[in-house]
């Protein structure tokens, strides 16, 4: 056995525990979910094989496609907001005095350290129409009381703000780390050529952050298609279904209606949607390289 071979083997050896975990907890359940999706099953009585009937049913399920549409809307608003604001704060953070940087970083990361359910509950108090802090603030400014989570038009935005607040710090840290990797020589050279401030950012920082940006974009898009816990806590999909996103709808089918087979079919379709979307994203960005 030559050296190279030995090295590969060691690598696989180290990967094995993780791979096993993935197999048992991710791949097997995924295949099983597909298997279940071909059955009519309420979790309590035996499964009945029905072929692709669940898929036929979901193609015509208006509520499901509406939930997919809402997930898209959520993603389209949330992802650019998150990427834009975390990049903005990373640049700001990079330029403030070292003395304050540690403190500021901690403050930004703090929401990320709070359990998602707890942060959702905190925001429910802030959003409360009668005693909530935000409405009291608006009151001082002479703006009438807003319903926020109780309004069909505001609930989704209100939730996006909460999730943004949670994830901003973490993504900012990734950007910040990438910015710090950029050699200062580039900026010095640019300075000699007369490019500073905005131009330096546009022509040096941004292009060099490309891989990081792509990474964050894809991960956040996948994440936003899986958004669930905060919405479950804050609105349960209401009012009047205005925040009923795909995963919540799957949950409803599975654990409220006990349509396990149908819910599994929905999950498979959602997986395909996310898969295709991530693939296109990856293609789109890497083509230019």
């Amino acid at each position: 056995m030559n050296f190279k071979r030995k090295e590969t083997l060691t690598a696989y050896g180290f990967l094995l525990p993780n791979l096993l975990g993935l197999t048992v907890f991710v791949f097997v359940p995924m295949v099983y979910a597909f298997y279940v999706s071909l059955h009519d099953w309420n979790a309590l009585s035996p499964k009945v094989f029905i072929g692709f009937d669940n898929y036929k049913k979901l193609a015509e399920d208006k509520d499901w496609w509406q939930s997919v549409y809402r997930t898209f809307i959520f993603t389209i608003i949330y992802v650019p907001l998150l990427v834009g604001s975390s990049l903005f704060f990373a640049v700001v953070m990079n330029n403030i005095k070292k003395k304050f940087e540690g403190l500021a970083r901690t403050l930004f990361l703090l929401p990320f350290a709070i359990t998602s359910v707890i942060s959702a509950v905190i925001w429910m108090f802030l959003y409360d129409p009668r005693n909530g802090f935000i409405n009291q603030l608006l009151d001082l400014l002479g703006i009438p009381t807003q319903q926020f989570l109780g309004s069909t038009s505001q609930a989704m935005i209100a939730i996006i703000i909460v999730i943004l607040w949670i994830n901003l710090g973490y993504n900012m840290m990734i950007f910040l780390a990438a910015i710090k990797e950029i050699p200062t020589d580039y900026y010095e050279a640019a300075q000699i050529d007369g490019a500073t401030g905005w131009r330096a950012f546009w022509n040096i920082t941004l292009p060099l952050l490309r891989p990081t940006t792509i990474f964050i974009l894809i991960v956040t898009t996948i994440g936003s298609f899986q958004v669930f816990d905060q919405i479950m806590v804050m609105t349960k999909g209401g009012p009047a279904n205005s925040t009923m996103v795909s995963v919540l709808y799957i949950y409803k089918q599975a654990f409220e209606f006990l349509n396990m087979g149908y819910a599994s079919a929905l999950a498979v379709v959602l997986f395909l949607i996310i898969f295709v979307l991530s693939l296109t994203q990856l293609r789109m960005y890497s083509d230019k390289d």
């Binding site: 094995l16 096993l20 319903q147 926020f148 009047a240 279904n241 409803k252 209606f257």
Partner: protein, 425 residues
């Protein structure tokens, strides 16, 4: 190559171990141990004093049936209990021998045959003691599938001082309730607190408004939707009006079932069940709270829900008989235990006539008197529709509450979904 092979074998063995680890517990649950003691799993969702009540029951039973039965009691939080804990456990055939079921879940479990027939386990004469309607509510295809142990009725609770300050009389009709809620609403106080989130509880509070006019969700034998009837439309529009004019808040800080809404003074009126009485008496002694029947529409008759949990036995349990014996011992034999539950631990009505008679004095105290004298007779058991029907009704309600949709249109759409759900069964 040799290493490759051994690696492969190693990983296969590991997978097998993991698999075995997952399933080995199955064989150990349920059967008795070597000296003939039957072990029963009892899963509950109650908390605090109510949890302690059941814990004490289990302790007492275990002591008196030493060497025969050992019951293991576990309590979960309520929302996990119904949505994930029970279905997942049953799916893996590791469900508890004894569990609690609400009208909202009853049909789901009944259709899957997960509940054992209790008919033969009732002690002599016990069945006759139960209110016929309460047994009817747990009967499915001539089988009694659960044991009712409480009836919770709904009423209109109001803050006496707030009403007096604004010169508002206690509302008796729909119009009066609407006017009162509007008049009592301020920046800090909600005129009338009603549930806002979708779920069985939302429907539970709404049904009386439908029944008062003689309407219903399904026809009598539960085979057809009657959801496009004018009574449904009227009840939907009426319910929606409170949210449209802002006299009912569209988001709540406490749960809608929480007496804190009215106890803390953040609501002037609310519709709540019997369970609120002890809370208001103990935690909010200083606030003067009044109670009245739910206001009725012109030409309608009084109606209220009789909700409440039931105890059931897992039909797949190896010890159905022992489990059934235990729940009968809890609530169908001696009257002291049901009486303690319904009068000391919480306030509810026992489905047993003898127990109510025995507790006559307590049922006439304070707010309880209003329930006993003015509300009890109008009680209709909470319907046990399947989850899809419950969801369709809830969706129609949400639409009139938040969606600027007319009751008529919301009812039509729900009607289609209900018909579809009924066809499936």
């Amino acid at each position: 190559m040799k290493i490759w092979k051994s690696l492969l074998i190693f990983s296969i063995v590991l997978i097998l171990i993991v698999q075995a680890g997952c399933s080995s517990s199955k064989s150990s649950s349920g059967d008795g141990d070597s000296n003939g003691v039957v072990t029963l799993k009892f899963w509950d969702f109650h908390s605090e004093a109510e949890k302690k009540f059941f814990q004490d029951l289990v302790k007492e039973y275990n002591t008196s049936h030493k060497d025969q039965v050992k019951i293991e009691y576990t309590a979960f939080n309520q929302s996990d209990y119904t949505t994930t804990k029970l279905p997942v456990a049953f799916a893996n055939e590791e469900g508890p021998d004894i569990f609690m079921v609400s009208p909202g879940d009853f049909t789901k479990y009944a259709q899957s045959g997960i509940m054992a027939d209790l008919n033969s386990y009732f002690p002599e004469g016990a069945k006759e003691d139960f209110l016929p309607a309460s047994l009817e509510a747990v009967t499915y295809q001539d089988k009694v599938l659960a044991l009712p142990y409480e009836l919770e009725l709904l009423g209109l609770y109001y803050n006496k001082k707030m009403l007096a300050d604004k010169g508002v009389e206690v509302p008796k009709t729909w119009d009066e309730l609407q006017a009162a809620a509007k008049k009592l609403t301020t920046d800090k106080v909600a005129g009338l607190v009603l549930p806002t989130d979708k779920g069985p509880y939302l429907n539970f509070i709404w049904y009386p408004f439908l029944w008062q006019q003689g309407g219903n969700v399904l026809n009598e034998d539960g085979t057809k939707s009657t959801f496009t009837s004018p009574e449904v439309v009227k009840a939907l529009d009426y319910w929606g009006s409170f949210f449209k004019d802002g006299s009912a808040p569209s988001k709540l800080q406490y749960g809608p079932w929480d007496a804190s809404n009215i106890g803390t003074g953040s609501a002037a009126m609310t519709i709540l069940g019997t369970w609120a009485v002890p809370v208001l008496e103990n935690q909010f002694k200083d606030v003067e709270i009044g109670l009245a029947p739910i206001p009725t529409p012109a030409g309608g008759k009084a109606a209220t829900d009789a909700g409440g949990w039931k105890m059931a036995v897992n039909s797949k349990s190896k010890n159905v008989k022992e489990a059934a014996k235990f729940i009968m011992w809890c609530f169908a034999e001696d009257s002291s235990r049901p009486l303690k539950w319904a009068t000391e631990i919480k306030f509810a009505y026992s489905p047993r006539q003898s127990v109510i008679k025995e507790g006559e004095k307590i049922y006439g105290e304070g707010l309880r008197k209003v329930f006993t004298e003015e509300i009890y007779d109008s009680a209709i058991p909470e319907p046990r529709y399947g989850p899809e029907v419950v969801d369709a009704v809830g969706e129609a309600m949400q639409k009139v509450m938040f969606g600027k949709v007319k009751g008529e249109d919301a009812a039509k759409e729900a009607d289609k979904k209900i018909e579809e759900a009924l066809k499936k069964k």
